[in-house]
Symmetry: C2
Subunit: 432 residues, 2 copies
């Protein structure tokens, strides 16, 4: 499917006016960055890059799209001719997917003609803003969950396509699996699921439902025990599943108290290996509160797919430099009021201490080294229009997950704290 | 594109176990409803139905999807055979798209075999929860804006496909137009847009940029005047565009104060007909605060596409009745803890007073009449698997927009208040 109309009308009217003035062809640099993190968050997580690169392959205009733009008079004939042959031929570099970011980190840099960089603006921001918001929330949940696996199960609470992207972002941030089948099919992500309350209600009794489930899915399945009465549900589950019953799921009530006595009941009944999954409206705080409860895994839905209070990463995409008519690079930036930014192409390094622990995000207008232990943050994604395929699909998700894990390990431990605070490392803007 | 894998894994494992137990074929009724509105909201707006019906046409399983489900062992062979021939053959009724809803309004009712209703659960909820959340927020913005048009421009702040659905939902709720081109192409929605700060920065001066824009897009275009200095920007805009300049856009700073003196400046310069559009992080409260400022239209982005603090409508989809093995209908409901609901198929009527103003949402387990002025809320969407095409595409959006307008007009005026409060009309659950 073509991705080129996932674009704001004004990108194409700007293109039209710039084609007419001749400025459309000026070599330009755009940067995507976040002016700040959501209030109280210690770090953000870059996600969506792999999806962006995949979509960029299909970012061109076919006859039907051109006809729409022509019929609705969005742009004139000259612009339609330009779009007819549109293919991104420039350069995209940026933070690896899964990497952490901080205020003013230059997350993605696009260098091309103004025309090309302008036309792909909306698409870039849609993907980075959504996927990074989800990954940033997911990463905090993983920090709260410690060694217990988290299952992403929020598909029903968000747009059907966002759900697929959210599952992908959650896996990058460390989730173990997802309920979303399309995400499994597209990205090779592990999917899981057993049954809902409707399955129990469908049958003539809870025992009949559990028997049907165990007969079909095996004794290692997880039975949902809170449709009627939790204690009776657990006893029936054990009666039906026996000592090899895989797990029970609790989806309502006071989960901390319940998990405690359900564990004891399971142990009393000899089901020491039957696990407990909890799933009712969890977020990073509820997960943290459950740390001392005998829970084996968490299912997270609404809070994950809505970014736990911050459903968008608020990244912007700004022209920071462009050539003038003499071919000289000119740094540019908006000056008015409360949205100032720094002109010029940025380079970023994560400064480390002698134990390879991050100490600062250092951003400069030239390529540089801090002189000490450090890690360069920008990698090439698109070179002369050639997209690096290794970041797309299942392999991209694996890479991003590994990158995220390594970047989190590199942070001071305070990064994992849920309490509101400043970014865990400062962003230092160098003068050179 | 097929929609059938926009589904949680557990829908298919439930299907498998129910096929094995024989219960899969029991005639069943599921209902989608919201237990409550987001805190303080006076009403919710149903949206997504047209998208759902369109997607339902493509809800079947092709070879690649079946191979995925087989390779990953999501389900067994018997279940794959069932899915191979899957087509929804049941009945869907519900609230018209654009209609208002309240706690426990039976928004969508699906009657079919358990198997069919179960398999489409996740997809139904994804669409209704997302689109209704956006439409509900959009409707409040329209109430705040009064007669001034609102432009949807949040595409860059949400997933690229959510953006299209959000634009559609905004139009249903009364927005005038969108920036999203794909929404224009799919649903015949009016798209608008002119230029961004990057366009000004691209050129050698603001005047050069404005000249390029006016030359290409005409004098009735809207110039963005806050890249450098707003006053100088307005003067340059008038110099370039003359008295026929269409508009200026303010995207930063104190919009209330700015709009005031910019209007005076425009008037002083003779540009009485040049309009002022404001666009910086507006939500329903900011729009209300601007009511007395001389603003002509509002561009709304982030707050719209994220549901203004409530990005999901939290609807659930519950089995409320099913037949037993003797063919008798049995009302069913979860009983445990904090998520109880009422079993049995619901019917809903909006009770009106003699001036056709709504006074209550009346819900009953049987078809009924209040005896006074009233409006039946449920309409047929799918009958014996036959989808009513009139709700799909551009015609569906038009119908939904008209329905929303009429339903809002029918409400007491307090519905338009932004202050937190109870639902504007009570939901009365009748005992019969």
């Amino acid at each position: 499917m073509l991705t080129s109309l996932f674009t704001d009308h004004y990108e194409l009217t700007m293109l039209q006016a710039a084609l007419a003035s001749g400025a459309a062809h000026r070599p330009s640099v755009f940067e995507a960055f976040a002016r700040r993190l959501p209030e109280g968050r210690r770090y953000g997580v870059v996600a969506g890059t792999g999806r962006l690169l995949e979509g960029l392959k299909n970012f061109h205009f076919d006859d039907a799209q051109l006809k729409f733009l022509s019929d609705t008079k969005v742009v004139n004939k000259e612009t339609l001719s330009y779009l007819e042959n549109f293919k991104f031929t420039g350069e995209v570099t940026g933070y690896a997917e899964g990497e952490l970011y901080f205020p003013n980190s230059p997350i993605l840099t696009v260098r091309s003609s103004f025309a090309e960089a302008c036309v792909i603006e909306t698409y870039i921001l849609s993907i980075l803003n959504h996927d990074s918001a989800i990954a940033s929330a997911a990463s905090r949940m993983i920090a709260s969950a410690g060694t217990r696996p988290c299952i992403e199960m929020g598909s029903r609470r968000t747009h059907e396509e966002s759900a697929v992207a959210a599952a992908r972002a959650a896996i990058i941030a460390g989730f173990d699996s997802t309920s979303n089948l399309e995400a499994g099919a597209r990205y090779g992500i592990k999917t899981v699921g057993t049954s809902a309350h409707s399955f129990t209600l469908l049958h003539d009794s809870e025992e009949a439902a559990f028997t049907a489930q165990v007969n079909s899915l095996g004794k290692d399945t997880t039975l949902l025990v809170d449709t009627y009465d939790v204690e009776a549900g657990v006893r029936t589950a054990v009666k039906v599943g026996g000592p090899q019953l895989g797990g029970v799921r609790l989806d309502s009530g006071d989960l901390i108290a319940q998990a405690g006595w359900v564990r004891e009941l399971l142990d009393d009944l000899g089901n020491w290996n039957t696990k407990i999954t909890v799933t009712s409206d969890l977020d990073e705080y509820a997960i943290a509160a459950l740390a001392s409860a005998p829970v084996d895994s968490y299912g997270v839905g609404t809070a994950l797919v809505t970014g736990s209070g911050h459903p968008t990463a608020s990244m912007v995409y700004k022209l920071v430099a462009r050539q003038d008519s003499a071919g000289q690079w000119i740094p540019v930036a908006k000056a008015a009021a409360n949205k100032t930014s720094v002109g010029g192409r940025k380079h970023a390094i994560r400064q480390l201490n002698e134990r390879n622990r991050a100490t600062a995000e250092v951003v400069s207008l030239s390529e540089f080294s801090t002189g000490g232990p450090e890690r360069k943050l920008s990698i090439p994604f698109v070179t002369n229009g050639e997209i690096d395929e290794s970041y797309i699909g299942a392999s991209g998700v694996k890479k991003a997950r590994a990158r995220h894990y390594a970047s989190i390990q590199e942070m001071p431990g305070v990064a994992r704290k849920l309490q509101r605070g400043e970014p865990v490392i400062p962003t230092i803007m160098r003068e050179d």
